[in-house]
Structures are given as structure tokens and as C-alpha cells.
């Protein structure tokens, strides 16, 4: 889809003047952007630059101190900051998904893989065991987990499988916006590559919008359409991914790009 065509569409998420303070210190400040349907936004920056704070504010896990986060819900545009907790949780179960860096944070380790995938379905009212199980097996297949592992607990899975299970669990209700907090962190490079392949396929196939927080420039190069670079809580540069990575303007971005090890 061309950029011009996107410009005419309604943004799925628009963020205005978002700020979060931890006492006197800045978590993130002056953040504003539009995310269009089907678009993948990467957020990069060093540790402590406010990436995860920003993501938590967007996903409703943290209450921002200032600003608005307008989401295009099925009932029209709504500011998720002012929304009632119940409505926000409903969004989080249906239209949103959140993939944690550590799959243990996003999975129920004591519940079987099928139960993990089925939880969101049951939370939105599915009450037919056979159908829930079929959906779970279907989704395990889509993230390349064998169907005979459906009754195993995640603790019996490898790290890469756990991450893929977490993705299946999040995407089963067909969300429109996926928040990912370093989805490939803690995985070895070959597993990372397969996961990225899988994510890229799912994002394109389902037409998902995604916001990916990472410090790995290779991840955003592969997945993201647009890129935001953060430092000290502020966005220092944003633009098309290739443009930002190939022709960095801000000195911090230049440092970041030149710091990548070449093999």
C-alpha cells in the first residue's frame, strides 16, 4: 500500500503529547505519532530511554501523566487513557495483543498450551470445548508447534517455542494492534531468524498493525515500516525505517547505527 493511500485512511492509533514521569525523572515525554492500519512501527533506543514505559502507557498497563492515546475502536475513536478500566480490558482481550519479552510473563506456566491459547477465546465468551480446542490446535500449527504438544505445559517447551506459543495465544482472537516488547530478546540468532520470519508472515497475512520495542536494529529493519528513535525519554528522530537507518540525522541515531557489529 502506498504511503499516499495510507494518508487518506483513518489512523488506527494516534498519540498526542504523551508523557509519563517517575517522580522528578522523565519516563517519556512529548511523544506523538499516528499508526495506520497494517503499519508496523519500530521503537528503538538504548536501555532506559523510555521505550518500555511508552509501550506500557500505550497498552494501558501504566497511566500516563499527560497526553492522549486515541484508538479507533469499533464504536469510533476513543481516548484509551480516559476509558473505564472495564472497557480498556475488553480492548486488551479483543483488539489488542501484548507480547512480552519473557514468555513466562505472558504465559500461564501451569496451564497446558491449549489452555493458554484458549484463554482469550474463553474470556470473550467461547463456551464450546471442541471449538476452543480446534482453534488452539490450528493456531499451534500456524506458529509451527506440533499438534501433539497441545496438552503439554509451556514449561516443557524450549524458549523459542514458548515465545511462539505466546504469539499464538495473543493472536487467536484476531487483534488489530499488537504491542511487542523485545519479542526476540533472549533467543539465539537462528531461533530469532525463524521467529522474525514467522512474525513477518503473520503481520502481512492478518494485516496487523504492530508496535515493536527493541534494541535490535536488525529486527526493525526486517519488520518495521517506520521507526522512532528514543533517547532520555524523548523521541529524537522518526521516519521510514530504511531512511532512518541508512541516513541517520540525529547524532544519537548515527551512534546507534554505527554501533551495530558487522559479521
Amino acid at each position: 500500500m502506498s504511503i499516499l493511500a495510507k494518508m487518506k485512511m483513518q489512523p488506527l492509533l494516534s498519540v498526542r503529547d504523551l508523557a509519563k514521569f517517575y517522580g522528578g525523572r522523565i519516563g517519556c515525554a512529548d511523544v506523538g505519532f499516528d499508526l495506520y492500519p497494517g503499519e508496523v512501527l519500530g521503537i528503538v533506543g538504548e536501555s532506559g530511554s523510555g521505550k518500555s514505559t511508552l509501550l506500557s502507557c500505550l497498552a494501558g498497563h501504566l497511566a500516563p501523566d499527560r497526553g492522549e492515546v486515541i484508538f479507533d475502536t469499533k464504536e469510533g475513536l476513543r481516548d484509551t487513557v480516559l476509558m473505564a478500566e472495564a472497557a480498556r480490558r475488553r480492548l486488551a482481550r479483543t483488539d489488542w495483543a501484548y507480547v512480552h519479552q519473557n514468555p513466562r510473563d505472558g504465559l500461564r506456566m501451569g496451564v497446558s498450551a491449549g489452555g493458554n491459547v484458549g484463554e482469550r477465546l474463553m474470556a470473550v465468551g467461547a463456551r464450546h470445548y471442541g471449538q476452543i480446542r480446534d482453534a488452539a490446535v490450528d493456531w499451534l500449527g500456524r506458529v509451527e508447534i506440533a499438534a501433539d504438544r497441545v496438552d503439554d505445559r509451556p514449561s516443557a517447551f524450549s524458549g523459542g517455542m514458548q515465545q511462539r506459543l505466546q504469539i499464538a495465544r495473543n493472536l487467536v482472537t484476531g487483534p488489530r494492534l499488537v504491542f511487542m516488547d523485545e519479542p526476540t530478546g533472549g533467543l539465539d540468532v537462528s531461533v530469532q531468524a525463524r521467529l522474525l520470519d514467522l512474525l513477518r508472515g503473520l503481520v502481512r497475512e492478518m494485516g496487523l498493525s504492530a508496535i515493536i520495542v527493541t534494541h535490535d536494529l536488525a529486527v526493525v529493519r526486517l519488520l518495521a515500516d517506520r521507526l522512532m528513535v528514543m533517547k532520555g525519554g524523548y523521541v529524537v528522530e522518526q521516519g521510514l525505517t530504511d531512511q532512518v537507518l541508512d541516513d541517520p540525522q540525529h547524532e544519537y541515531t548515527q551512534l546507534l547505527v554505527s554501533s551495530v557489529l558487522q559479521v
Partner: protein, 291 residues
């Protein structure tokens, strides 16, 4: 024996009873909602029914006739000692007949004889929070109740079916009250679950250690959670009572010797005894055995 006049009626002081009654009224007003209350130390250990005893104490009036059952039986240690406790501290009449009692304190059973309007059934509850074993944080479970975020309850049932081929939860089976709160019915067998809903008696639940009271007013809807393709079934041992021959009561399995011989008897002793007194005799029962 100490001087009986040293105790206030039914052991607790009037201010405490007043506080508990306020919690009970709130519980009745919001069926299935867990009302916090300032649970007192009772002269018995936690786990022996301190919650139930406090609720009973707050409900009793001198005209009441009390029945206490433990696993359906009137003559087990817990039932006998709680009954004696109220005989000594409240001087009220006691009975073993379900139909004659005005207040029934129970542990783990609902009597077989249908309850009537005007009766109060008090449950002893060890863990009042149905979500507790799925979500350990109290702040989070309260939030889940507030937002009716009950998907997790079905995850538990899903796990049962995927592991055992059926819903293996046989007691403490969660119910949804009036389409709103999911409630823990205390560890009654799921055989008793259908009696929770639409019951003519007031049902009060007291959890002493956890400091919660909740209630089902008369004729309240209470639906056991299930799946469309794995519906709830009220299960019992596939047998008839060996003493009274009742085919439809909840049974205890009793091992009778070291060779593995066993018999099934009604867990509700009053129900079994009154059936035998009325001439119903099971395969191992004797006509002389009375209730």
C-alpha cells in the same frame, strides 16, 4: 464448667454480632459478593468452622433450634463440638432432624431433605475466592470480580477436560450467581450444586480465616459453570444406600475390612435414619436400626 452467665448469648458480644449482621445483610443484598468482615478469634482453630460459627452466632435467637452437620453427619467430632458450643453458650434447643431446625450449620454438604422458607443454612468456608488457585493476587482477583473478567474460570475447566477427558472437579464447583458474581460454594460435592439455586432457605457462607461473608438469598439463581459440549452433571457413586436403599442420595464409601469389602451409605445421617425408621431397608441394613 465455667460460669455460663459470664458469656454473652451465643458467645460473641453484641457489637461483634452487629458488625457481622451488617456484613450478612450486605451479602444478602449483593448475592455472591464477598463482603469483608472483622473476623474474631474463636475458641477453636481456624479450619474448624470459625467463619460458620460466627455467622451462626450472629443469626441465633433464643427461640432457634440448631442442627450442625459435618460431611452430612450429625455425630462427627466437628458437628458435636460446635453443637455443644452453642448449647452451652446460647442455651438453645438442638436437633438432628433437618425439617425441625431453624438454623443449620454445615460443613461440606447440603441436607438431602429439601429446605423450607424461614430456615437458614450456614456454610463453613475454607477459601471463599473461586479464582484463588488460578490468580494468587487478591488485588487482581477483586479487580476480576469487579470487571466480570471470568475467562480464567473456564481455563480451569478446559484443563480438566484436556487432562482427564471430563470436568474432573468434583467438589468446590464454581457457580455463577444471578448472571453476575462467580462464587465458591464451599467444598460441597458437585452433587449438591443444583440445590444451591432456587433454594427456599437463606444460605450464608462464612470464612473465618479469610474474613469474608457471602450469601445466597432465597430463590436465587446459581448456575454451575460448564461447556456447551461438556455440560455440568451432578455426579454421585453409582450405587444405592446399603442401609436405607435410597437410590438418589449422596453416598459415602466405607471400607469395612482388610479384604477390601466396602459399603455405600448415605452421607446425610438424618436422611438415612428417617428413611430406615419409615421402613426402607437396604441390602445391609437391619430393620431395628433407627434414626
Amino acid at each position: 464448667m465455667t460460669d455460663q452467665t459470664a458469656y454473652n448469648f451465643a458467645y460473641l458480644d453484641e457489637q461483634t454480632k452487629r458488625m457481622i449482621r451488617r456484613a450478612i445483610l450486605k451479602g444478602v443484598a449483593i448475592p455472591g459478593y464477598q463482603v469483608p468482615f472483622a473476623s474474631r478469634e474463636m475458641p477453636m482453630p481456624y479450619g474448624w468452622g470459625t467463619g460458620g460459627v460466627q455467622v451462626t452466632s450472629a443469626c441465633l435467637v433464643p427461640e432457634d433450634r440448631l442442627k450442625v452437620i459435618d460431611q452430612g453427619a450429625d455425630d462427627t467430632t466437628n458437628a458435636v463440638s460446635i453443637r455443644r458450643f452453642f448449647q452451652r453458650t446460647a442455651g438453645i434447643e438442638v436437633t438432628e432432624a433437618t425439617a425441625d431446625a431453624t438454623v443449620i450449620q454445615t460443613r461440606h454438604r447440603i441436607p438431602e431433605t429439601p429446605l423450607t422458607e424461614g430456615q437458614i443454612l450456614v456454610y463453613q468456608v475454607p477459601i471463599p475466592e473461586p479464582l484463588r488457585f488460578l490468580e494468587p493476587r487478591e488485588t487482581e482477583t477483586r479487580k476480576m470480580h469487579e470487571l466480570e473478567d471470568y475467562g480464567l474460570m473456564h481455563v480451569k475447566l478446559y484443563e480438566d477436560i484436556s487432562r482427564h477427558g471430563q470436568i474432573a472437579t468434583a467438589y468446590d464447583y464454581p457457580v455463577k450467581v444471578e448472571g453476575r458474581y462467580v462464587m465458591d460454594p464451599s467444598p460441597i460435592p458437585k452433587f449438591d450444586n443444583p440445590k444451591l439455586g432456587g433454594n427456599a432457605a437463606i444460605q450464608l457462607f462464612g470464612a473465618g480465616r479469610e474474613q469474608r461473608i457471602y450469601a445466597l438469598p432465597p430463590y436465587t439463581q446459581a448456575i454451575s459453570l460448564d461447556f456447551d459440549d461438556y455440560p455440568f452433571t451432578a455426579s454421585k457413586a453409582d450405587h444405592a444406600c446399603d442401609l436405607c436403599g435410597a437410590p438418589d442420595s449422596y453416598l459415602d464409601e466405607v471400607i469395612t475390612d482388610d479384604q477390601g469389602s466396602r459399603m455405600f451409605v448415605c452421607s446425610d445421617t438424618d436422611f438415612c435414619g428417617s428413611r430406615r425408621a419409615a421402613g426402607h431397608i437396604g441390602p445391609m441394613g437391619t430393620p431395628s436400626a433407627g434414626g
